[in-house]
């Protein structure tokens, strides 16, 4: 191994000494998952596309985004962004504004007219999708881009489901929604509007025509309050109220509204009513801290002059000639074990009266399971599915609000994606499954924060309250390009190599080789000190035992 030393002069290079034999551990480059990705309902490669924004590669960022979610402009506005809750950066200063960055890329794609890449070569199989909401559209997109023939059946006259009928324009401008839906249809999805699948018989017939079915008909049956007579003209269910106002129909309800419920839908109803000039009170069972709506929605509702009466419930309504008297009582609210379950105990002697002209209950919706009676098993309030989102009937898959109590738009998009992958495997069992990311999520402790100076989050501003109450214009402003780049630069890129060359330059043994894309450890010389790991700003390298 060693050359014989020269007897005359020190011209033998130290290279002949292979110091790699000293080592007990060697660094490994790993594309480790970031915590945001683990929390993301569509398992988006967030660290990757945020880095692409930082480098100014917006188109690349968009392609990375739409690999998992064809709705970045929609999600960038209304996602409940659990990614931000998981962000490692909050342990240094503040979480990265992932949602506003997603909107930035999504908006740019619409403005620039970017199209999805051509679908893969045509497959023999065809899939019918029932329901044109976020879950159905996400599944349609994922199946169509894989080359399957996709036929989408939608009961109503327009696609979008809850995104169109349930989300007010001040949160999601409808031209944005139209743009992102059109791009999916342009991939070659066949759309049948006003074509509901009415019952189990129709479903069975449909299944005979297609290799697989995906059901995503949502939750369309409003839960009802026994204290309310829904036949009265002064009662309107929240979903109906939103569907009507989103469609531009006039609101017939009186001046003083009481909205019942503490979730996002209740906030949407209340804030829409404010924009229609009503005075609005929200009556919710939950105390302030447990309101199921996102905190930002509650804060913005308060800014808009909505009164909150929390930790209380309606007991009876008395209709007088010139209005309503709502008999209410304070309650002791206890959260249940599983999401959406709770118990309430009225506090005796705490009764009070609210005056109002109309009541809009927005307390949630149930899936219409009766429609598939005898054909599909149910699991409590939803259709039963296995881990692959397949129902009790092989070849029939389900997702979204029909099959899950995780009632967030991006959860539905993620379910659509997972079902599409399962349907592709069902059609062709040889198809490779989704590639799992390496190893465990990068913890904050693996980020070298010396390379990340303190820098607070750039919050996009909001429309002035006065302007909000006059129009249905979007409340949240977008990030400007320079702001987006600065915000993206705050990202730690947890677990993702950013090719900064720190590992190369901090090696005392010249044991890191630069490759065209990435690095290689020269095992002949690496002594296993771990400096490259310690000085990696993103936690993309780990020591592996040998």
């Amino acid at each position: 191994m060693q050359q014989p030393p020269s007897p005359l002069w020190t011209n033998a290079s130290s290279r002949t000494r292979l110091t790699g034999t000293w080592r007990s551990a060697m660094p490994e480059y790993q594309d480790k998952p970031s915590p945001c990705r683990g929390a993301c309902p569509v398992a988006g490669r967030i660290a990757e596309w945020v880095r692409q924004i930082e480098l100014g590669d917006y188109y690349g960022a968009w392609l990375t985004l739409v690999d998992n979610n064809p709705f970045p402009a929609v999600a960038g506005r209304i996602c409940h962004h659990p990614c931000e809750g998981a962000c490692n950066r909050q342990q240094l200063d503040e979480t990265v504004g992932i949602c506003s960055l997603e909107r930035f890329v999504g908006d740019m794609a619409l403005a620039e007219g970017w199209c999805f890449p051509e679908p893969a070569a045509a497959q023999d199989q065809s899939v019918a999708i029932v329901g044109g909401g976020p879950a159905g559209l996400s599944a349609a997109y994922q199946l169509r881009r894989r080359g399957y023939r996709v036929v989408l059946f939608e009961e109503r006259g327009q696609l979008g489901g809850l995104l169109r009928h349930g989300i007010p324009a001040y949160r999601l401008d409808k031209t944005i929604l139209d743009g992102e839906i059109q791009r999916i249809i342009d991939l070659g999805v066949e759309v049948r509007l006003q074509s509901g699948i009415a019952d189990a018989g129709a479903l069975r017939a449909l299944h005979a025509e297609y290799d697989a079915l995906y059901l995503a008909t949502g939750a369309s049956r409003p839960k009802t309050l026994p204290e309310l007579d829904y036949e009265q003209p002064w009662v309107q269910d929240g979903a109906d109220f939103l569907a009507a106002t989103n469609a531009g129909e006039a609101c017939e309800l009186g001046q003083r509204l009481v909205v019942i419920g503490g979730g996002s839908a209740a906030m949407d109803v209340a804030r829409t009513a404010r924009r229609l000039g009503r005075s609005v009170s929200v009556l919710a069972l939950e105390p302030d801290a447990l309101l199921p709506a996102q905190p930002i929605e509650v804060a913005e509702a308060r800014e808009e002059g909505i009164e909150f009466i929390t930790g209380a419930m309606l007991q009876a309504v008395e209709s007088l000639g010139d209005g309503l008297k709502l008999q209410c009582v304070r309650v002791d609210f206890q959260q249940g074990e599983t999401r959406g379950t709770f118990s309430v105990e009225p506090v005796s002697g705490s009764g009070f009266v609210l005056s109002a002209d109309a009541v809009v209950p927005a307390i949630g919706q149930d899936a219409d399971l009766a429609r598939w009676d005898g054909l599909l098993d149910s699991d409590g309030p939803v259709v039963r599915t296995d881990a692959q989102w397949q129902t009790s009937r092989p070849g029939v898959f389900a997702g979204g609000d029909l099959a899950s109590m995780d009632r967030f738009v991006t959860q539905a998009i993620g379910m659509g994606k997972m079902a599409a992958e399962a349907i592709a495997r069902h059609a062709d069992p040889l198809q490779p499954g989704a590639v799992a990311a390496n190893g465990s999520e990068v913890p904050f402790a693996e980020i070298n924060t010396d390379y990340h100076p303190l820098a607070g989050r750039l919050q996009p501003g909001n429309l002035e309250v006065e302007a909000r109450l006059r129009t249905f214009d979007e409340v949240q402003h977008p990030l400007a390009q320079d702001e987006a780049i600065a915000e993206a630069a705050r990202c730690f890129s947890c677990g993702t190599c950013i090719y900064c060359d720190n590992c190369y330059f901090y090696c005392p043994d010249m044991a890191i080789a630069k490759l065209e894309h990435g690095y290689d450890v020269k095992s002949d010389y690496c002594k296993g000190c771990g400096l490259c790991v310690a000085e990696c700003p993103t936690g993309a390298i780990s020591m592996g035992q040998e």
Binding site: S14, T16, Y451, L531
Partner: protein, 291 residues
């Protein structure tokens, strides 16, 4: 994030026998590659001599002359004069030494060379002790640090070599840290372009000597800079001070806590060291303001 951007021409080779994780080897890599091929070095007995390579192996692509511990600067002076008489005035002569060969045993030769303003670039790899011979104290060892010969902690201060050198009014004295590689390369580049005696003191947290983890020498050096224990600055012509890091962002204790040699310190001793560092920092600000 600031990217490291010096050009590695492979003038420092793998296979050297520095400890795993040694930032003296890391600093040697930056310095040799920044100085370039047209250079000759001397090295006095030290870790640096071992890293450059014992006969017949060499980790450097430039000639290196092993001197005695007393005579680093004198040998470098002689080589420079020989090169001048050969008509090679642009060849850089590097004088590599440890703190033992600089603060203690080589001080006379360095002072003489500085007094004559010999055209050499003197690099002191300062690991604050005789770490190559098992970790005895030198006059560079700081107050309270434990070494093999100061088992209860050193009772005297670290010698202020920079002020000694400043008294010689040489063109450039600078401090450098393996946590700030661009700064180190820039200082070497600047020194290379100047004629006369230039001295760069590089802080080298010694893994076994200081009780630092194998992967933590860069972090320790960074904390030394950020706490103001080892500020990055330059002194030109002995009087003009320039601070390269203008703010302290860490407590002295965060630096001390990285190291086994300070593990015995009481809270009062830590406070005392913090107070010393604060006073030195104020003095440095005062010097920098007077330039």
């Amino acid at each position: 994030m600031e990217l490291i951007n010096y050009n590695d021409e492979e003038l420092f080779q793998p296979g050297h026998v520095a400890c795993a994780g040694c930032v003296e080897a890391l600093s040697m890599r930056v310095i040799l590659n920044t100085v370039g091929r047209d250079a000759v070095a001397t090295v006095s007995p030290s870790c640096g001599a071992v890293i450059c390579g014992a006969y017949p192996f060499s980790a450097t692509k430039i000639p290196v002359f092993h001197t005695t511990l007393e005579s680093g600067a004198a040998s470098a002076s002689g080589i420079k004069r020989a090169l001048l008489s050969q008509g090679k005035p642009d060849t850089t002569v590097l004088c590599l030494a440890g703190d033992g060969g600089t603060y203690d045993i080589g001080l006379q030769a360095l002072s003489s060379a500085a007094e004559r303003n010999e055209d050499i670039l003197y690099i002191c790899f300062d690991n604050e002790g005789y770490m190559n011979t098992g970790g005895q104290k030198s006059s560079s060892t700081p107050l309270a640090a434990v070494t093999g010969s100061t088992p209860a902690g050193k009772t005297t201060r670290k010698k202020n070599l920079i002020e000694i050198l400043a008294a010689h009014r040489i063109p450039l004295i600078a401090t450098a840290s393996p946590s700030h590689l661009n700064d180190m390369a820039a200082k070497v580049e600047k020194a290379k372009a100047l004629r006369g005696t230039k001295v760069i003191i590089v802080l080298i947290p010694c893994l076994p000597g200081w009780g630092v983890a194998d992967n933590a020498a860069v972090k320790t050096a960074r904390l030394a800079v950020e706490s103001g224990v080892f500020p990055l600055f330059e002194v030109e012509d002995g009087v003009h001070y320039t601070l390269n890091t203008e703010q302290r962002t860490q407590s002295v204790n965060s630096y001390l806590a990285q190291q086994g040699r300070y593990r015995h310190l009481s809270a009062e001793q830590v406070e005392q060291i913090q107070a010393d560092v604060d006073a030195e920092w104020q003095r440095l600000l005062w010097c920098a303001a007077g330039r």
